[in-house]
Symmetry: C2
Subunit: 265 residues, 2 copies
Amino acid sequence: MERVKRTPRGTRKRDVPLTEAGICTSALRLIDADGVEALTMRKLAAALDANPMSLYHHVPNKEALLRGVAGMVGARFRTVTLEDAPWQERMRLLATDFRTLAHRHPNLMAYSFSQPDFIQPEDPFWVALTAVLDAAGVPQSDIPQLAALVCAVVIGVMIAELNGALHRWSNLQPTTPASGEDGPTNEGFGEDRMFRLVLDTIISGMESRLTADHAGGRDGQPPQNSRRASRRIPRQLRPPAALCEGESRGNPVSDVEAGFDLKEQ
Amino acid sequence: MERVKRTPRGTRKRDVPLTEAGICTSALRLIDADGVEALTMRKLAAALDANPMSLYHHVPNKEALLRGVAGMVGARFRTVTLEDAPWQERMRLLATDFRTLAHRHPNLMAYSFSQPDFIQPEDPFWVALTAVLDAAGVPQSDIPQLAALVCAVVIGVMIAELNGALHRWSNLQPTTPASGEDGPTNEGFGEDRMFRLVLDTIISGMESRLTADHAGGRDGQPPQNSRRASRRIPRQLRPPAALCEGESRGNPVSDVEAGFDLKEQ
DNA sequence: ACCTGAACACCGTTCAAGT
DNA sequence: ACCTGAACACCGTTCAAGT
């Protein structure tokens, strides 16, 4: 009995012994086609023309397999490091490159994004992001938290983009329909533009925080008009509902004057 | 044979006929305890002391059941509408209230957030959000897209918070370990603070866009220093990799001067 | 060492049959 | 009308047995 078999369509498979890499590659192909939830050890084995149980000699279980696939494409992330460019441009480039990778395997990424261990400290994306924040002048001690927030924001927008929520929400009617017009007018609105808008917005917000930080405290004249007025308003006009862990937030009205004061002072 | 039975532990169940609401309530209890992925039609039936097949007379299938549960807790969202407060404060309050709801049922929310139809046009959260953006002076035509982005950002941070990624990322070592210190020093860093920081940052970014919009174009003196300098830099220093749909973005260097120019002009 | 068939303990769901 | 038992078509995974 020969090992090389032919599928009903005649394509040749399994002329090579099973490998973890080969299994992951085939799994990725199935995920790209039908999504993570449609991936099955049995279907994967069939695609590899192998016995379902043979997979377990190379992969401990399905969860580890998915981790392997995610790690495989995560390692494919590439970006250029423009040391001389301003940090704003580097951050935009980094986020755009990340998004490009996500667009390459949307089904896998929609799954990976909800895994807490998706980003590892050695990942080139994380390394580049912390480097950019360092170049921006963020204090060393605040870099991890701020990088985490940037990750969360960027990934949040991409989740909403990949599962179609961004598109659907964008076409929801505003509260006041104005007049009987013919449906949503945002046909050519473009997720590209929205992604760039989010980037520009958080970069603007970071810029104003960083410059306020460098200007030093509350003495400088207000830069435009209302940017700092909102900070004088008490943070919470009513007591917040209890959180899960019953944790009480230290000082309810900690007025954040400027800068990234993440640490307990 | 009586309908009221007792479980092995003696607690009484099913003294009331099956209802869709009752099924959803029981499902929510199981989800709160063990997560969505652990919910099973058979386990749910056992919790209701019913035959697994009886559920299908009140709920078409498991997917619809989960939609029903999500809709049930989504309808529980409440917020106060402070008509007189500045839009920044209203937006903060709205996001915080949303987060409070998410903390009440984290397992369900972590699932719901990845469903594209989680937010419906009639949802009080959406209505309130669009009202806030309207009060902020966002042009009517841009409100849906901007609200969608706010949703995506806020939900993204909450996903990362609920699944622990935010906490893990925050404790990743920076690239330069400085010295052999004893691990991460961010023990009391607090997701509350990080959530507020994201809110403040996007609000700051929106403020600078809105005020720049009102000031009208590029003639006004630069407000502080670098906020607008980054816009003069060409957007893309290298050609972007092809996106999924092969869609070419119109003008690669569309310099966004100010305001929310989401529409194709 | 690598593979495999049978089997186990689960799923969601259909359907014919009960009351 | 509402409920139910049996059954179907799947899962992931274990395990003893093969080569």
